[in-house]
Symmetry: C2
Amino acid sequence: MTATVYLVGAGPGAPDLITLRAARLLEAADIVFYDALVHADTVALAKNAEKVAVGKRYGKHSAAQLFINKRLVDAARKYKTVVRLKGGDPMLFGRAQEEIDALAEAGIACEVVPGITAALAASAELGISLTRRGLSRSVAFATPRVGREEQPSDWAASLINADTGVLYMAAHEAREIAAQLIARGKSAGTPVMVVENASLQSRRHLTTLGAMAHEGLPALEGPAVLMLGEVYRAALEAATALPQSPRKANNAAK
Amino acid sequence: MTATVYLVGAGPGAPDLITLRAARLLEAADIVFYDALVHADTVALAKNAEKVAVGKRYGKHSAAQLFINKRLVDAARKYKTVVRLKGGDPMLFGRAQEEIDALAEAGIACEVVPGITAALAASAELGISLTRRGLSRSVAFATPRVGREEQPSDWAASLINADTGVLYMAAHEAREIAAQLIARGKSAGTPVMVVENASLQSRRHLTTLGAMAHEGLPALEGPAVLMLGEVYRAALEAATALPQSPRKANNAAK
């Protein structure tokens, strides 16, 4: 008999933004493998479990991923309840499929528990909906790789053709991304809302694609989501409409 | 003094897929306004609250929305903790902005608590990630209106240009949607995964865009998400690769 391995979304950061199901599984877990960016209080819910930190949330190397896969398989043969705790939601930029497939190949049962993804937490915090009647009926989520657009598809096109665009793991390439979106026809005046550490000690930056192409973003310390589109226009205008001397659009607005 | 109104995501359906924060707010609520599709056990978490059913989850009329806005404002002036419980996540096809704006205009504090959106719950249940290394780096979410593509934007383009497409509130127009995506250049062989009642008594249907354009979908009783793209290819092939007589691609596969 082997255990079921639960791939559990830890949500955006705040420990009370995990699901009831996730919290109960953590309480029952014998061993938990957690991403480095998961909040310590979330990991601590697994009060009876051996706790193993594995890799980083973003940008994992394949070798590290293969090692995680192997550890999950080994644990399933040794423990009763195994939890793999991943930041955000496992099925949206969580690289869950590699772990699901490795477990399936080893004949080990696997269940996935969804989590709150960062863009939804950021939107809740901002009070600005990703969709809005008359303004946004489509939202594209993407992880760009500048200069590698062909594999597997054209990330820029998905963003250009959606009313609201959301970029994960993109802050370090913000300038190149903005330049490319503008070169491909997106308006330089498109409002951009950046939320760092959504649901925790979050910070927000308002700018435009054009300003971001020229100046990039301020230095960010935590994970960030970049969101763009007309739904952020009113917030951008409120942030830049100071009396006498209009502030530059890319100043932080909180 | 007026209350804070909490716009709370009830998640996809299963009562244990709400967040800890949402559960605590429900327990503390004096009054809860809930969408018709929210699970009875979720509403019951508000054990000390007056419970008021308001409208349907999808397709609310504007008049009904204005009435809900007014009731939230009135309740904030009468009660201490007011919860507005919405299916899924409030900020993704939840029409939250209209309620947020109405509360802001009335000078009432409002906080949004994110929820698990149906596509993430469906993906968890399927064990098929929306993104996948080498196969999908972009996901578009849209609510199509066939024949009204111009307002505010071209929903079909957002789906055509993303690796994985997710459609909400689309099952009733499945045939027309598929025909239009094909006419616009999406391959008729694109796999389509339909999940009805994600996280509850869910049913799934596997088909292709081409078959959906010809035959539509089987009758659905609950809310459904339509998901399309190459990430569903293996599931489609497994469902159709029966010995001797290959089943038609649009048969239910569970």
